[in-house]
């Protein structure tokens, strides 16, 4: 098992727990009708976002998908500002102009969730091109879903990254479904050999196993940063909630969701591993749980009470100058 020190373990747990509670809370709050827009929840996939982002630094960029809360939190976006954004209030991370699907913080290297499936990979090539041209030593990492694997943009980005030898890492989170259709149906052939076909170095990891993800991520990022060209990582994981909030997931087979929650929960698997190996105790983990609960409570409270943006914001920031 990978040797991680205590602080790293606590940090990993904290981040995953924050994502989980954030998403669970949105699931609860949405039916109340205060949150104006749709959300696509990441619960169940936390180990992937955290495992990768813990291997990135300030000068590195990530791009995400419509299911972007987890990547945003893992890359260091402000949780309370994110909540305000989802609630459409002043103080939102995007000043209430983007909502859940366009959450971003360029200053933290988060190039945004994206409402267009496959919208991220070309932007990732761009950020990698910047890193290469300005010799920053940075890498750009694009999270994509199985749904994006056959988009033209995704495949063009693989080719482009390989041709231009860009420091880009593409992480495909196969959670089994592209919206309501299983990846086993919609993805022909094998996504790993597809990436190999473009000349990318490929890796695989089990998305429910934080340690496996972290170790694979470290290697993929290290080699990419060292100039070995772009990399592709295939991660098998599971989402607990529907494609979007309100999706009854009737496309799942009987007992499938129960099995996922029971056996494929990265948080319980992490907890079990660290307590069994006596790396962290339940007390310590419980303390993190309580801190995270407080944070999310406060975030919801503040977001609920935050003022709506003024109407004059409608026409702001279309251009820098016009």
């Amino acid at each position: 098992m990978l040797q991680l020190n205590r602080d790293t373990l606590i940090e990993a747990y904290r981040q995953m727990r924050t994502i989980r509670v954030f998403e669970d809370r949105l699931h609860l709050e949405r039916p109340r009708g205060i949150i104006p827009g749709g959300v696509h929840l990441y619960a169940g996939q936390e180990a992937v976002a955290v495992g990768f982002c813990m291997n990135l630094g300030e000068g590195d960029y990530v791009a995400s998908t419509h299911r972007g809360h987890g990547h945003s939190i893992a890359k260091g976006c402000d949780v309370k500002a994110m909540m305000k954004e989802i609630y459409g209030r002043q103080g939102g991370l995007c000043n209430a102009k983007g909502g859940s699907m366009h959450i971003a913080d360029i200053s933290k290297g988060m190039l945004g969730a994206n409402g267009i499936v496959g919208g991220g990979p070309p932007l990732v090539c761009g950020a990698a091109l910047t890193a290469k041209t300005l010799k920053t030593g940075g890498v750009a990492l694009g999270f994509i879903g199985d749904g994006a694997s056959s988009q033209g943009t995704t495949n063009e980005s693989f080719n482009l990254a390989a041709v231009l030898k860009l420091p880009a890492v593409f992480v495909l989170e196969d959670n089994g479904f592209g919206e309501g259709t299983p990846s086993s149906y919609a993805v022909a052939g094998n996504v790993v050999t597809r990436a190999e076909g473009f000349g990318l170095r490929t890796y695989e990891a089990d998305g429910a196993d934080f340690f496996a993800v972290y170790e694979t991520a470290a290697e993929a990022v290290r080699t990419t940063r060292a100039g070995e060209g772009p990399a592709f990582v295939y991660v098998r994981c599971d989402r607990f909630y529907g494609h979007f909030e309100g999706d009854a997931q009737t496309y799942r087979g009987p007992g499938e969701l129960d099995d996922v929650r029971q056996n494929r929960d990265p948080l319980s698997l992490f907890r079990a591993r660290v307590t069994e190996a006596a790396l962290l105790g339940d007390d310590r983990l419980g303390a993190v749980d309580r801190e995270v609960a407080t944070l999310i409570d406060e975030a919801v409270e503040e977001a609920t009470n935050a003022p709506k943006p003024p109407l004059s914001d409608l026409t702001k920031d279309v251009y820098i100058s016009y």
Partner: protein
């Protein structure tokens, strides 16, 4: 004052801006030509020679031949702009926007707004438009109205070598995403162009001919045709003011309105298809803001609602001509 062609001016401007700012890079299909081959590098320097010589001065890190993946590299240019570069990407023919429009429409144009003003996207896309080269439907269109429609984009259509230098310089230095349209048939058009750098602000129309009777607003290459028509009409005793908006987004509404208020008559000339075009946009603007100044209905001289045909006579009939423009002017003169 040196004489330069539009082609020369484009190369000169790219080089000047790349010298001035190390974050400016140039990318696109065959903008060098020959990358990775055993033959001549810079074989093409762009399909119309507009980027020739740049790689010799700036090297392959800043002058990049891309594979044929518009979505990939236009998106990459967007991402690069977002993160500290100032890319000038070439979309070889504007007709190809179909394969990369999401990157322009949903990404580049909207990032600043969606991210609450916390993103800067200093992207320039150079692209080509216009009929007249017998290249038929998929290589001859003028889709600038589509881009003009999109909030967050700026659209620039220079009509002279002097204007190209000032507007392209401004486009590169501008921190918003800008699409610059180059007419395929105008690369050899010459003008007096200073060696010094200069910018022309967006949203400032140019008046290329003055007259008291009719205002002609023309787009792109049609400005040249409108000037021809105006010179001929002047000899017939009809005075035309020709307005070249230079940029359709932002649009110099004030100059257009003022000129119509002076003359009372408007003819709009646009080689694009007529539905939902820049021509209809300008006509609606004038009809709503200068209605009482109008002495006659507005005339639009445009292409027909067809794709661009191949056979030369058919293509020539598709493109508005100085004769068609003059006929429209005579009609509005008779009409009120």
């Amino acid at each position: 004052m040196p004489r330069k062609t539009i082609r020369q001016v484009i190369t000169e401007t790219l080089a000047a801006e790349m010298r001035r700012d190390p974050t400016v890079i140039v990318m696109g299909e065959d903008i060098v030509g020959g990358t990775g081959s055993k033959g001549q590098l810079d074989a093409w320097g762009g399909p119309f020679g507009t980027t020739k010589g740049l790689i010799a001065e700036f090297g392959p890190e800043r002058v990049i031949d891309t594979p044929i993946s518009e979505a990939g590299f236009i998106g990459a240019a967007t991402g690069a702009a977002l993160t500290g570069l100032r890319p000038v990407a070439e979309l070889m023919f504007s007709d190809f926007f179909g394969v990369c429009f999401d990157q322009i429409y949903n990404q580049a144009a909207k990032l600043r707004y969606m991210f609450g003003g916390r993103a800067v996207t200093p992207l320039t896309i150079r692209t080509r438009y216009g009929a007249g080269t017998r290249s038929a439907s998929q290589h001859s269109q003028s889709p600038y109205s589509v881009f003009t429609h999109v909030p967050g984009l700026k659209v620039v259509i220079p009509t002279s070598a002097y204007d190209m230098k000032g507007l392209l310089t401004q486009a590169i230095r501008d921190d918003d995403p800008v699409v610059v349209f180059e007419h395929k048939k105008m690369y050899d058009v010459e003008d007096d162009v200073p060696d010094d750098s200069y910018t022309i602000p967006f949203g400032e129309a140019n008046i290329t001919h003055e007259g008291d009777d009719v205002t002609i607003v023309a787009i792109g290459r049609m400005v040249l045709f409108a000037n021809e028509a105006a010179a001929k009409l002047e000899r017939e005793g009809i005075g035309c003011t020709v307005v070249d908006p230079r940029t359709t987004s932002p649009l110099d509404e004030d100059t257009i309105i003022e000129c119509v208020e002076d003359t009372g008559r408007l003819v709009v000339v646009d080689e694009a298809n007529p539905r939902c075009s820049v021509a209809t946009d300008i006509a609606a603007l004038v009809a709503s803001k200068a209605f009482r100044a109008l002495k006659a209905p507005i005339e639009l001289v445009t292409a027909p609602h067809t794709p661009v045909p191949y056979a030369p006579d058919l293509e020539d009939a598709y493109i508005p001509s100085p004769e068609k423009i003059a006929a429209a002017v005579r009609r509005v003169m008779e009409d009120g």
